[in-house]
């Protein structure tokens, strides 16, 4: 099977440059579209139960530059990002900038996200592979049962139940908070976040593994009398992982950017909370900031997936 060096570093570099060149206009379109959609939503960041007197509102809008036309605001915003990497101030949390919010929240979601990712991949992959190898045995039924169960139990139901069991009844774990990422505070968020991803990975791995195991080259390998262990690990695993890897790219981004449910139920202080609340609060700059972050990560990891794909599957040329 061709390895990375077969198609050369030069080729890969070319590929990456090409992808980055496409990523820039993609992100720009994302910025413009989000900006326009956001401003099209009724109300604004300073609409509140008690409307501000016109003079007070005018002073605030002047401070944040909201008194300018939308194209001017958008231009200033993009210039600020490109020249100073400045994503602007939060309108809701007035002591903090968007850079502060991301710098503080992203490490938190990244920590519980990456752990969830590892748990989901290892547990999901193991479940899927063992179910495929032992198709139609109790192990298979168990794996399928677990993954369907995990898939249908949404995390907004599971998270409060976990707290009820582990905090109130058993008293084993703290019911939330972050506490600088102490392990006791990580367990429930990781379980709640990884479960449904694990289920998807298990089902994907199982079905693609089954498909590969029925293919001709595996039959040939078996006919040659190779041991089953080496057939699975050396020949079947790589092609079976292809569909899983294309799922893992977006899943990885989804997990490391956190979850609104996790952050609001466990009070972890992560970034996931802002994906929903900045929109409700019309906190324009924060909403743009998290959208761009998510967009950039998505573009980046799609690229990583493509590279991995080419490495695994010789049929794909960059």
């Amino acid at each position: 099977m061709p390895q990375l060096h077969d198609w050369g570093w030069e080729k890969m570099l070319n590929f990456m440059i090409r992808r980055i060149a496409i990523a820039i206009p993609t992100l720009l379109i994302l910025v413009v579209a989000s900006f326009l959609l956001m401003h099209a939503a009724p109300g604004g960041p300073f609409t509140s139960e008690r409307p501000l007197p016109p003079q007070v509102l005018a002073n605030i809008e002047a401070k944040y530059g909201l008194n300018q036309s939308i194209p001017v605001q958008m231009w200033n915003y993009i210039v600020g990002i490109v020249t100073q990497f400045d994503f602007g101030p939060s309108f809701q949390y007035k002591d903090r900038t968007v850079n502060d919010i991301i710098a503080q929240g992203f490490p938190i979601t990244f920590t519980y996200g990456i752990l969830s990712f590892l748990v989901a991949v290892v547990a999901g992959g193991a479940l899927g592979i063992s179910a495929a190898i032992r198709q139609n045995t109790w192990l298979d039924y168990f794996a399928v049962g677990v993954s369907i169960g995990a898939q249908v139990l949404p995390n907004f139901v599971m998270a409060p139940i976990l707290i009820l069991i582990f905090t109130l009844w058993l008293g084993w774990l703290p019911g939330g908070g972050w506490n600088s990422g102490q392990w006791q505070h990580l367990i429930m968020p990781v379980i709640a976040l990884s479960t449904s991803y694990m289920a998807s990975i298990a089902r994907l791995t199982r079905s693609s593994m089954l498909e590969v195991l029925r293919s001709n080259f595996i039959r040939t390998a078996r006919a040659k009398g190779l041991p089953e262990r080496s057939i699975i690990l050396r020949h079947a695993l790589k092609p079976a992982l292809l569909p899983v890897i294309s799922y893992l790219g977006p899943a990885f981004v989804g997990m490391i950017t956190g979850s609104f449910i996790i952050d609001s139920v466990f009070g972890t202080g992560g970034l996931g909370y802002f994906f929903v609340n900045s929109a409700f609060n019309r906190d324009y700059a924060v909403m743009m900031g998290v959208t761009i972050l998510l967009g950039a990560l998505t573009v980046m990891f799609n690229m990583v997936v493509d590279i991995l794909y080419a490495w695994i599957d010789p049929k794909i040329r960059l």
């Binding site: 109300g43 609409t47 998270a159 009070g267 202080g269």
Partner: protein, 540 residues
């Protein structure tokens, strides 16, 4: 008025009792105190700021009241007690207030707290460049030139406030305001450390930079997770502070917060709606309910954009009469709320609820009167009224809207379309009078009836009904300078009951689960202005 006598009495009471503090008992009550004096409570959302002139939300103001101290504080009942000021006097027509500041108040970095710090803070509040969301409070306070400074027509230095010397603050008002001193407990009037703000800019409120003059200092802040404040050793009255540490945890989900309270992680949390009856039965010593200075009501569009039938006072009255408030508070809410027939809550200081006519009727009488009013207006079984009621998306508002629409249907045959909208969309719809009937709620900014009744003034920015009654406007204007405006307020409430631009439904109740070792929660302070320095934990 001079309340320094009260201060002196209070100080001497503490002085007599203070030796007991060392022995681990409360200096006044003698209760044994717990070793661990940490108070942990739940907040719904991350606070907007802890900058006194910038903060605008309730949870932020709670922190600011601990970190900073203004001229006056409130006691457990909401009465004024000395803060940085020890006394004040006014001129005869109550347009000039002179505050005398204590000489032992210092900032957490050792600077003395001076009258100049208040002058700076108030100018900063009014300065358009600060863009404070509460800058309008300068106008509520009636400070001379406040409006002009706010509009940028005058320099902040022209504001009617000056430091006569380091410990004397003189405030000049645009007009006589008898309750001016009450406004000095508001967070936006607290002093600000000019040197720290100029050095650190908006970062001055982070735990490493902040300089404050209250009983506590900010020691930790993990946004959206927790903020921690600890005893301020430089506070002038630190020896009487009992709680050492106060932790606010952000927990968005009220049911999760209750679970964590039950697991002992929190000392105080809100009771989720509908759970008060069960919790007061299972944990009677912890479930606490008390009146709040807030009203829940429906506002009726009376502007030009409104349909004709809503401009008919008989229809508006009929709709209000047909709302069975007792069912809403006793069966729907079940959390200690009280039925409302006037806009101003009974809990408001110096306000006695006037006997508006429909409050005294039974619900059957009200329904009969409502049917008659509708018939007079030309609506009945053969000609039913169709209307739309909007509310912002929330389970609680939905339950009430469903109950009210059923009452209108049953009593009057009115067909109601219910429509829920996302919060900001809802505010825009209501603010643009693009509605027929809309849900609304209002909490007083200070403990005086005008904080409610000013809403029905023609020019009020909060008058979403666009109600306009020259008589009401005149009564409210003259009430401003009266020593006892009750007679005016009674008349205004009667006019509201007669014109019914709004349908008062209930007055809020606060309800908390409070652990039994936490003492002195000010349940009688209707504004819920609580100060951690007045709380303590007893040994159990």
């Amino acid at each position: 008025m001079n309340i320094s006598v009260k201060a002196a009495l209070l100080a001497s009471a503490f002085a007599l009792a203070s030796p007991a503090l060392a022995a681990g008992t409360h200096p006044v009550t003698g209760e044994p105190l717990a070793d661990n004096q940490t108070f942990t409570y739940r907040v719904l959302d991350e606070h907007s700021s802890v900058d006194p002139q910038i903060v605008e939300d309730v949870s932020g103001s709670e922190i600011v009241r601990d970190l900073f101290e203004g001229l006056y504080n409130q006691d457990e009942k909401g009465n004024l007690v000395p803060g940085v000021a020890t006394s004040f006097e006014t001129n005869a027509d109550k347009t000039v207030y002179t505050f005398h500041l204590r000489d032992n108040a210092v900032w957490s970095d050792g600077h003395p707290v001076t009258a100049g710090d208040f002058v700076y803070a108030w100018q900063r509040l009014a300065n358009p460049e600060t863009a404070s969301p509460y800058s309008w409070f300068i106008e509520i306070m009636g400070i001379k030139n406040g409006g002009a400074v706010l509009a940028g027509d005058m320099a902040p230095s022209d504001l009617g406030v000056k430091a006569v010397d380091d410990h004397t603050l003189e405030v000049t008002l645009a007009q006589s305001l008898p309750y001016f001193a009450l406004t000095t407990t508001h967070a936006s009037t607290f002093p600000a450390p000019k040197w720290a703000i100029e050095e650190f800019g908006t970062d001055w409120t982070s735990p490493e930079n902040i300089v404050s003059n209250g009983a506590y200092v900010l020691t930790e802040h993990v946004p959206n997770e927790r903020s921690v404040r600890e005893r301020n050793a430089t506070y002038w009255d630190n020896e009487h502070t009992i709680l050492d540490k106060v932790v606010a945890l952000v927990i968005n989900d009220e049911n999760v917060a209750l679970t964590r309270y039950m697991a002992g992680e929190l000392d105080r949390t809100e009771i989720p709606s509908g759970q008060y009856p069960a919790l007061s039965a299972s944990n009677p010593d912890e479930a606490t309910v008390f009146p709040r200075l807030c009203s829940y009501y429906y506002t009726i569009n009376m502007s030009d954009s409104a349909p004709e039938f809503l401009k008919d006072a008989r229809v508006r009255k009929a709709l209000s009469y047909a709302v069975n408030r007792d069912i809403i508070v006793d069966n729907v809410l079940q959390g200690g709320q009280t039925a409302a027939y006037t806009f101003t809550p009974a809990a408001t200081a110096g306000f006695s609820v006037p006997a508006v006519d429909y409050a005294g009727m039974t619900q059957d009488e009200r329904n009969a009167a409502a049917v008659a009013l509708m018939a007079e207006a030309g609506y009945g079984a053969d000609n039913p009224l169709d209307l739309t009621l909007i509310y912002n998306t929330s389970e609680g508002h939905k339950k009430i809207a469903i109950a009210v629409s059923q009452m209108w249907k049953q009593a009057l045959g009115v067909n109601v379309t219910l429509e829920n909208q996302e919060w900001k969309t809802f505010l825009q719809t209501r603010g643009n009078q693009d509605y027929q009937i809309a849900r609304a709620g209002w909490c007083g900014d200070y403990n005086e009836a005008s904080t409610f009744l000013d809403l029905v003034q023609t020019n009020s920015g909060y008058n979403d009904a666009k109600y306009s009654n020259a008589e009401v406007d005149a009564l409210l204007a003259s009430a401003k300078t009266m020593d006892d405006p009750q007679a005016n307020y009674t008349q205004v409430e009667e006019m509201i009951a007669n014109d019914m631009p709004i349908i008062p439904i209930y007055h809020y109740a606060g309800n908390y689960m409070i652990q039994t070792d936490l003492q002195n929660w000010p349940v009688e302070n209707v504004e819920q202005n609580w100060y951690s320095k007045n709380l303590y934990k007893v040994a159990e």
